[in-house]
Subunit: 357 residues, 4 copies
Amino acid sequence: MGNTFGKIFSISTFGESHGAGVGVVIDGCPAGLVIDETFIQSELDRRRPGQSSITTQRKEQDLLQILSGVFEGKATGAPIALFIANEDARSKDYGHLENTFRPSHADFTYEKKYGIRDYRGGGRSSARETAARVAAGAIAKLFLRHVGIQVQAFVSQVGDIQSPPYTSMDLSKTEENIVRCPDSATADKMIALIDEVRKSRDTIGGVVTGVIRNSPVGLGEPVFDKLHADLGKAMLSINAVKGFEYGSGFGGITMRGSAHNDAFINEGGKIRTTTNFSGGIQGGISNGEDIYFKVAFKPVATIMQDQESVDREGNPVAVAGKGRHDPCVVPRAVPIVEAMAALVMADFVLRARSTRV
Amino acid sequence: MGNTFGKIFSISTFGESHGAGVGVVIDGCPAGLVIDETFIQSELDRRRPGQSSITTQRKEQDLLQILSGVFEGKATGAPIALFIANEDARSKDYGHLENTFRPSHADFTYEKKYGIRDYRGGGRSSARETAARVAAGAIAKLFLRHVGIQVQAFVSQVGDIQSPPYTSMDLSKTEENIVRCPDSATADKMIALIDEVRKSRDTIGGVVTGVIRNSPVGLGEPVFDKLHADLGKAMLSINAVKGFEYGSGFGGITMRGSAHNDAFINEGGKIRTTTNFSGGIQGGISNGEDIYFKVAFKPVATIMQDQESVDREGNPVAVAGKGRHDPCVVPRAVPIVEAMAALVMADFVLRARSTRV
Amino acid sequence: MGNTFGKIFSISTFGESHGAGVGVVIDGCPAGLVIDETFIQSELDRRRPGQSSITTQRKEQDLLQILSGVFEGKATGAPIALFIANEDARSKDYGHLENTFRPSHADFTYEKKYGIRDYRGGGRSSARETAARVAAGAIAKLFLRHVGIQVQAFVSQVGDIQSPPYTSMDLSKTEENIVRCPDSATADKMIALIDEVRKSRDTIGGVVTGVIRNSPVGLGEPVFDKLHADLGKAMLSINAVKGFEYGSGFGGITMRGSAHNDAFINEGGKIRTTTNFSGGIQGGISNGEDIYFKVAFKPVATIMQDQESVDREGNPVAVAGKGRHDPCVVPRAVPIVEAMAALVMADFVLRARSTRV
Amino acid sequence: MGNTFGKIFSISTFGESHGAGVGVVIDGCPAGLVIDETFIQSELDRRRPGQSSITTQRKEQDLLQILSGVFEGKATGAPIALFIANEDARSKDYGHLENTFRPSHADFTYEKKYGIRDYRGGGRSSARETAARVAAGAIAKLFLRHVGIQVQAFVSQVGDIQSPPYTSMDLSKTEENIVRCPDSATADKMIALIDEVRKSRDTIGGVVTGVIRNSPVGLGEPVFDKLHADLGKAMLSINAVKGFEYGSGFGGITMRGSAHNDAFINEGGKIRTTTNFSGGIQGGISNGEDIYFKVAFKPVATIMQDQESVDREGNPVAVAGKGRHDPCVVPRAVPIVEAMAALVMADFVLRARSTRV
């Protein structure tokens, strides 16, 4: 259970880190949408391991296969199945994990929940599953592009190094550096920090900020399926995420209502707000302003240091620091955050079509 | 759409601030559960307006009616419908809102989304809807009590006044003061701050912390329905919530993996962790340690000050500061947070029954 | 579980035969729909017991209460909760059933499934639940009227007395007699048969035929949610239904493909079929022709004769023939069939809005 | 939309007749279940085209690939993705259909619904999709075998040739002849009829009867998800199905209640019924007796005769009778009916685990 996301534009992912591959079935993609394979592949390339010196060196082509639902370059309305075969699996790297629970991984909980565990590279709990999300999210992005909505994300924090606010940066520069921070001075510092962390055989946390522009007014559903509630769930479902906030977020706690309220004004016939502490969402529904949110990632649990742990019988064991892993997950998390945000928005665009008589 | 929450233990709420009342249908409550009406009413009383000097003075008895699903004091397996009639509606207080969009309320977004709006007290967007959640959550709590899981929440921050960490307080003291902070010294400061804010005709934000104890290992579903993802969605669906974090949360951003990882140990035959930055959840699944999380609430949007806004035609109008409202929402939000957490946990307890062959 | 129907236009019913009442929450009714209470009440009156000499004499006003979701006569987009209080409950009539399993009722299966049973009048298994469906279905009908789709049903068979095919009758005459067969000669025979059956203290089965006119082309979803599959589930979920067929139905078994195929023709620019064995549905999707189907009802299980059965301990007992019951369920089933068909169609109309880009 | 079936044991199929292949993702298969690949393949072989002289001669190996969710021969609790590549696609056979609407096929409705159509072999509307269901159903059968429930189906009617009732035949003989009727004398007549029909370049309808034995008491959910309602939907979702009945079915219409009621008796401490007109289901819930039902299939729409139709512009065209098709679908439908019944039962077995406290 729990492998499906979305109500109308709905995705179901499958696959493990070291099985045949990972994939996704998209049910509800509107018919007629032009499916740009090159774009989907380019999104996968943004998430792919081995893309830069600050990411894991695991080699995967992550080549997209479209198994169904596309005919003559367009979505037919049938389920779109996408598959990405695993290549550089190296299962033998993981044989030592058969009986060991790695600290702050899902080994222990999967074992106890299911009574059986595909221990190779974390199996289903591996972040490799997010390749399927990125592929599906690319199709959601194509749909959003069609309706004029823009979803962007970038790295806004690594350790204690923070970028300026999104409103004072040019987000089109996000891809200009390997850490995916649009501010090059901040990016340099972030890269230096990640390098230092990597050399110390350790890992570090960070923040990805998401921004959604040109959303129409009226997306999101009260009461439980508020736009930010579904965005939050989407983000919290990404591996290593520990927190989510939108608009003023945790910073709103210490504000007074008189300062926090966003005054409405009439701007050339369009009702807008003078400030945007609401983060573009009021009562769970988009108000037409920028939607923005932050996603907190913990430091990657796999570190290149020996750690004490226990095995399946509860005996003390040492977990060796080996394998190929990211010292900081946020640069590669940027396309994942975008993908999940795009999936949420695509779903709400379609849901909104049933709002009125 | 969007008025249902939960997959097996599922609730659907209905009702508006100034209509006949608010209610909820619970589908999936296990048969045989003893339904303690007195307990449900006591939970409603914790959420009720007018309960103390720091909450709104709106008078509502919030008397519980059970319309179905209970026979001779026990759940029959049929849907349990609960209803709470509105009493002190005073619709005339809201007539001035018919054409006005209050800042940082849902007036504007509802109007634009639906083309029609029950403007009386916010209609469906009113936090009055949470009475239905608290009633349903009380039944979820009864079920959790049956399986030994304990859900608690308390106010951990008002403005910049923070309580000690939950591990150094006695949570059974939460109800001993009107702000619902278990540390009496902190509580006094919080109450003083809320009083000051109220007198300045303003509002202030805060944090409710939730703690779930005695969870079995194995609750939560990968990939999308991770335990913390559903908890996050549940919390973000509560009115005025701007952020959610669990375990190390946003604090984990600046930590190194070597410090953040929770080492496994064998404690008398039980596998436990030495620290709990994971917040009791690994890979989206409970690991048996305490589950804890924070929920950030913005300052209440209704303030006792005149504010500039626009009407439905976009003309500038002044929104008068009148009515009866909370200067800080967190004391009354405590039972709501508990209710939503209980609903999530009850659902996952039932879902877990299908995990193994 | 299992008390919700529909994906976008979704209903959840609650209530028991002898509890406070029965009700329904409609989530997904499009905002702006004019809610004609008089019409809803008139639909309830068509299902109400005691309406004619051939139905049960149980007296119920079945007065509609709208608890939420309607403001100034229109749907607001919030859940619409409807409630119908029980009046003539006479629980004492059912005290003898506490320990007895009535033949071909749900007493035994509910007891074994849930371990607890509201035995009064069948509790949740009573057809009284269908009052909630009829109320919700009336709102679905109002929506269908808005989009131009017409849903009708009538009694086409009682015992071995069959009406002419629907295409040779005027369905507007359905309400002109108490058995709800548009052909008055057939109706007279049906009434006479029901009278005879009632006098012999027995019951008899029958068929309700449904006809949906003016459906647009394109409603229904492959693969599992075919229009006729959801119609079938809707009908089979009605108490006492044993079978469902559409178009040629079971009659198609003995036909050759060359005779059964519906040839396409161009009728003044509109593509139509010369025959309609398809029943207006091809590949699970409406083709614009009349959708028609038959619903088989068994003879009512409650008969005015003593029957042998067993009690909860398995001891032989006699079930006394008393109470007030219908000798034939189909006349009162007509509005129920219409309601369920309307709910299916309303849902598919809304689902179709997401079909194309 | 509409490509997912089941609430807990849930399947989502994908794929088209002439694309890369067809597949299915099973979410909710209990962990630890032994996945017998040989058995799954053998079930696919029963559905495979070209298996006998009375089925289509299209050649497909239908070789099963397991893409995920199985580790060391057991289900891990992760989604199980199954894929069956298309081999003998011969897309050129279908080029003539690009602009033509075949009578009683889904060509017209798909075109009008989606505005785009994969016309090759019917695309998504092809019965080839049922290969995915059979593969998933085989896993459901493995689970049912584990809990002791047996699902069987057989051909009970072809044209006007009917088999004896299931209770008087040995269902283990179903696979002993190519038409899959356990009574060899009837089978011979059926085969002769199909041969005759095939030679006349026509097709004929038929009935598949399903029988479920050893069901525990208590499966099925009131109100909408009655066991027979979900079975009915499952069957009606199979290509070419026009009707469904269970127990007495349409035959119950002409019966009196006194004859139709199934008397309860105590048979050696077990409560049973003397007759079984209820078809093993009362109030939507299994009562422990045999569950049996009939599924009516229309004659296959593709006939080897020229037929008049229209093209996409509404111009008259002749549809040529060519290609490779089944003269009667029921022999190959037997494993499909079993698969869908198994999926329904597996789902209800898991749902029942949450019934009681």
